[in-house]
Symmetry: C3
Subunit: 638 residues, 3 copies
Amino acid sequence: MQRTLGTCYYPEHWPEDIWQQDAARMVAAGLTWVRIGEFSWSRIEPTPGDLQWDWLDRAIDTLVSAGLKVVLGTPTATPPRWMVDRHPDMFALDQDGKPRGFGSRRHYCFSHQGYRKEARRIVTLMAERYGPGDRIAAWQTDNEYGCHDTTVSYSDAARAAFVRWLETRYGGDMGALNAAWGNVFWSMDYNRFEQIGLPNLTVTEPNPAHVQAFRRFSSDQVVSFNRDQVEILRAHSDAPIAHNYMGRVTDFDHYKVGEDLEIASWDSYPLGFLEDRVGASPEKQRRYARQGDPDFQAFHHDLYRAVGRGRWWVMEQQPGPVNWAPYNPAPLPGMVRFWTWEAFAHGAEAVCYFRWRQAPFAQEQLHAGILRPDSAEAPAIVEARQVAEELANAGDVTPSQAPVALIFDYDAEWAWQVQPHGHGLTYFDLVLEHYRALRRAGLSVDIVAPTQSDFSGYALILAPGLMHLTDNLRQALAKAEGQVLYGPRTGARDADFKIPTSPLPPALDGLEVVVAAVESIRPDMPLPLANADGAVTGYLETVETAADVLVETAAGQPVAVAAANQVYCAGWLDGDGLDHLVATLCARAGLGICKMPEGVRRRQTATEEFWFNHLAEPVDTEVGTLPPAGVFRRLRKN
Amino acid sequence: MQRTLGTCYYPEHWPEDIWQQDAARMVAAGLTWVRIGEFSWSRIEPTPGDLQWDWLDRAIDTLVSAGLKVVLGTPTATPPRWMVDRHPDMFALDQDGKPRGFGSRRHYCFSHQGYRKEARRIVTLMAERYGPGDRIAAWQTDNEYGCHDTTVSYSDAARAAFVRWLETRYGGDMGALNAAWGNVFWSMDYNRFEQIGLPNLTVTEPNPAHVQAFRRFSSDQVVSFNRDQVEILRAHSDAPIAHNYMGRVTDFDHYKVGEDLEIASWDSYPLGFLEDRVGASPEKQRRYARQGDPDFQAFHHDLYRAVGRGRWWVMEQQPGPVNWAPYNPAPLPGMVRFWTWEAFAHGAEAVCYFRWRQAPFAQEQLHAGILRPDSAEAPAIVEARQVAEELANAGDVTPSQAPVALIFDYDAEWAWQVQPHGHGLTYFDLVLEHYRALRRAGLSVDIVAPTQSDFSGYALILAPGLMHLTDNLRQALAKAEGQVLYGPRTGARDADFKIPTSPLPPALDGLEVVVAAVESIRPDMPLPLANADGAVTGYLETVETAADVLVETAAGQPVAVAAANQVYCAGWLDGDGLDHLVATLCARAGLGICKMPEGVRRRQTATEEFWFNHLAEPVDTEVGTLPPAGVFRRLRKN
Amino acid sequence: MQRTLGTCYYPEHWPEDIWQQDAARMVAAGLTWVRIGEFSWSRIEPTPGDLQWDWLDRAIDTLVSAGLKVVLGTPTATPPRWMVDRHPDMFALDQDGKPRGFGSRRHYCFSHQGYRKEARRIVTLMAERYGPGDRIAAWQTDNEYGCHDTTVSYSDAARAAFVRWLETRYGGDMGALNAAWGNVFWSMDYNRFEQIGLPNLTVTEPNPAHVQAFRRFSSDQVVSFNRDQVEILRAHSDAPIAHNYMGRVTDFDHYKVGEDLEIASWDSYPLGFLEDRVGASPEKQRRYARQGDPDFQAFHHDLYRAVGRGRWWVMEQQPGPVNWAPYNPAPLPGMVRFWTWEAFAHGAEAVCYFRWRQAPFAQEQLHAGILRPDSAEAPAIVEARQVAEELANAGDVTPSQAPVALIFDYDAEWAWQVQPHGHGLTYFDLVLEHYRALRRAGLSVDIVAPTQSDFSGYALILAPGLMHLTDNLRQALAKAEGQVLYGPRTGARDADFKIPTSPLPPALDGLEVVVAAVESIRPDMPLPLANADGAVTGYLETVETAADVLVETAAGQPVAVAAANQVYCAGWLDGDGLDHLVATLCARAGLGICKMPEGVRRRQTATEEFWFNHLAEPVDTEVGTLPPAGVFRRLRKN
């Protein structure tokens, strides 16, 4: 596989007379890809039915003629203003019932059938025009599904669709739903499916079974919205289809959307994420302010490698300060190159910089490009050029499996959100903390979907926090030969969010663990471990088991217990505790670890090894002193 | 009086074939009472008019046959889904005007006449069926009035009822209301009562007289809703009637509701309260995380002894982790017994554990029971059994009066909420802080209603913060022979929330104090006292008086002044300041104090003395070393 | 010019039989002015069309007869309840679309044509009755425009007016607006002006060009509302017209309103402001809790001197604790006198105390007056009397120009609010920080409008943060002979909120600076300066320039650069950094500085010099030891 670069371009934003020069400069900078079109509906169809393809034809021709490969986006994330006159109720409603109206983007409800039809119409027109032939090298559907919390909608359209979805799920059996949800609890029984509302605007918390069902439904609506487009594009084009997911957007199941696509891609804004959604301490935010979190991007790289079943891109790469975080600093010199190589180290096919030239207008006018608004070079283009030159000497690469698998399950993410038990406990953080510990041990990781049925080749498989464990996954894990880590909360809920009537969790294969009680604990009351650094924080189960105790609290309460290769962890461990647990598991698995200095991370594939220094100071490592923003790469001896 | 135990049970949640076994296990555990039915409307009347009493008949029979006494709850806190089709506007509206809809509980507006009629209908049916005979040993009306902030509703129904309430209060005289409220202030005069709206959605704060009237009205609606049920039950049954109030729910006047009932009861969740509503510092939250606040429960015990005019229960006692606080730790071993004995020390007739078996479904699936979801014993049942055994040897008790009276007035609570003057100042906290100081001095306390007319036998009477002082109470306090503590803010408002035209407060009997000015102060700017530990924090009045100065600030400003047995405190004292004031008052009253070690509390009745150690460590006391969760009890020499 | 005192009086709040005594006490206290009437509509017109002027006639006669000068307010800030029946949609809507209804004050939308007509009607009636003759010495329009966030309304009326405003601004050319706003960005193009909505309830942030236009429109609505009244009053009266602006209310352009008036006035509540809107640290809030911020009032004094083109008053002066801040302490003894003299030092014609007697009812019942509710003297009247005596000996004063001009531009305030880039960065704070630094250097300052065309006589002109620099101002500054300080963000946006296509900022006259990049920085990551105390915090531009570097970071990045008398500052400097910059500029300007001790401030006019000690302790200065609340005044040698 070849590794390539690209950029995101908006010909409709610029005078046509500079398109050709822009294209030539892209090629000169070593870029291969140019993504266009995804916000251009109002220029393609300025008034209903008045299709204006000419400008887009010329833009594509200009880019292709210059030697660039075009990724064409469907424009459905930004329906024009006239669409709202046709479908005044097309908006999502927020939790308070307020419409999320026109004036920015993503102003549609995934369940609105009128808009669904419009979306199919414009995608069909676009596919018919650009599908045949080879002008388009790849497609992108819509843009950043779920961004700005747009997956979940409390509209009438959503309610109607939810009722149908439930009827299907429960085979039209009202009693089955009432029983499955335990609606007897507070006299919440329904007489007819049509009575079921959305789980907002209740007096106190709604039934968690109700909420979880609504979260699953909402995710399915995204999947089906995307599938509409894929089916149309496939009918007219052989080019691969991608979607660009957004970092830490977890409201829909990316694996399921990904199953319909050839390529997964995501939009990587390390500095914006650190300020806005990593959840780091202020001290850490200061230390990494110009470099980004040392694990957050890598985690997404590994996630989208799974979502894309090996084929994945960074569709948008931060090139300088962004506009949308609370604070928007400039990256440390070298970080644009660094982030690009980090993506390649994790198997990216392509990295595209967002955006070519900074827009002088509208919402993102303070979002840097790789050119300045005045067309002068911004720092990023220099680093992009450097990567292009380095890539020319780096050769092709072959995908390879990591020694460690870490399961990430969107359904579990929703379940923890619906019922965190303790304030601030999230599944995403739990999995990310495990990922950080693996990385601090120098390990390379495959993130895998909960639908994985074969864990061959993995020495270590981590499955933390799977509140509902499907039978398929249970069986697959039972067959695994590596060390398997479960818990906390594994199998704590059945498919309908009930506690299984047998003790918790239902016995795992070969590992009898009964969760007798669960408690959440103030985060400022850590429970120290015995004979190791670290502590349980925030959450702990009382387990009854005859298995071996691997980790226990200083007070003698079992935390991690094991039988054969099956390990159950009953609590939420802090960083030191997880380092200890990972070391213990690796020892059992016969997997060597390489403790990373603060800020340094390693990524190994079958053929290459990379070291990255995320600190703003030089760090000594076993491969030498890494400068700030330092990237070290070597081929691996086979 | 005998002291008994019980539990809360939901036969409708469980297969009928285990009811008998459950009943037998309850009896075996030493339980006397079983409360049922309060959330079962959708099973009693699955569709309108289709009454299904059979299952409830059988459940009651099973329980009674096993030897248990049944408390039957009216199911009006959870109207079924079909009710909403009949009365689509039955919901309360929140302050923003949003309906608080179906999907959890308490989804009704106390002023909605349609729902009021439905509530009377179902209670009548229930009373007719179960009132005659002796199957039912006690009744409970509804469940936790006011929980989830459900007393105050901004619905059209509430507005209409409020207008009528005002017409009555002001004798239909529009000018009287305008004058009483000072509506001239910002041209807020009304021409007709129908113009009066609810005090929400105003540009800036509404007239406090308007808000206070609305708060009083809202409370009265709860009283009348409850009275509807009481009148029906009384017509068919001789069993005593209770309601289960919730901790720190102060939006309606519990005394007034209590006047219509035989028994007051409350729902005691010490760990949930500490995290959620005590308002403790993080340090204190850590120290008492598994034991609960050392005064909060006792305060409610003493409050409900007043509300029940001597007869009171804990209807729901926390048995393990709850599900609803930010953090939900497990109690320290021994605390379930401890809490039970604490309630008995304060005069409870019965303590019922909530709930029998943890529900595996719906909103409270993470709320512990005294059985686990799999029917195994949870820790609480073991401690309950221990209490049952201890009770068997403890004998009967007789109620007795405490040496100290502390007035708690719901009207004052609302007044301070309407006009705290300084951010965070609440009447509840003010009274609780006085209560804490009394308890730190080892004193036993009676909380009394502001309608108390006779204070005979009290050596000390504390009446802090009574913003409106009724003539009756003023006269009763003037006649009291003990030391009487007033202030701050005593009588600062007339019955219509006006400042009396005479100086503030109107002269108390024998104690001329003029409040020349009031100020609120940043809480981080304490004003130290002269010649004592402690400080004024948050609030201070400038008083002009010829009375003796008992306490003053280091800067020489009078804080507490006295003439004869009347004492006025002009400021909000911190803990040390209140300890000093209490010691001063006790010295004047000839009342001995016994300084309690941190975390230890004492409760004395005419016949018994109890010591409780709320700390997680042993504490040395004059009655010996109390272990963690330690309860010491001895009979008093007479 | 004579300096006079006054008070705010509400005859309608009090029995008529005490009016005469009140008036006599006012005169005896040395007061000249009495402002009345501004909230009295419900008593002037109790029901529609029923005009009740008699009481007001008598009140005015009583006051005038006692020798007082009457300021009569139009009552449009408080339309009576019956108005709402006539115009149910007259309310402003908040950002969530909720009406801001009846029950307090300012419950009208500036764009509602029906209410606009009613306002003109009542003002016409009032002007016809009281305009002729000399009973009224001055007028006040409405009351505190914009207070309680009432400038911006999201009502239908506002939307309709906004559409018309935009049509006018863009000459009815839809394409021009689309191009100017860059609506192509996210397919936000409009087909017709009627499609344009208000910039609320969008999915993510709206187009900043859209928001800024709406902010300008909203300001213009206030200007035209006020102009309606002025035109009517002028037609019937020769008395000067004022409006009383509120501190740190910046949602409309006070200069533009001021252009239609003879006198600017503002309402000065130093302690309320410190708690509520200065944004001080807790430490500073404690230190100045009873004195107020040492620069905030002076800043407004200087601002309103500009708004009033030399003629300005304090219409409402805090006399004791207010009721509306989070904490409401009493002023340090002497502060009422201090605040009064401070206003005079900055050129006030009159200072009026709000209010005469504390109201015993309604929203402000805890707002002190200069009398207590029981008519006894509150501390403020004693200090007012002292000032009156001091004034008698102080002689007349002549306005004079300060050596330093500081531009304050409402348009820039909105622009920064629309696009702060970094969390918490506001233009108001930026200008205030510059003002503080000037004051710490002992300098007297003129605040000037951005419409200023002549800067003759200023040794130093500060123009920080002008995001849009008009051609007029650019030219005026280029002609200035003093040192001119620009930046950061000067000229960063064109008139339509676009980044100019040339580099940023467009070259200033004689100073070539290119802003290559901008970044916002966490406030806890200061960038220290080289060779000076202080740091850049929060915001920094990367500039390319051949000009001299006056200030740079320790890392070598230019911060302030200069060519001839033009200086550009590329970052947000902290206090020490601004002191350094001001010292540097003064040295270049040949302007002497006099470093003030903490809490001490100096104000010089052509004829007088004042020193003020804002601390609660005595401070040694070059004019001697100033006691707490100390005011030092001397005549200047010419």
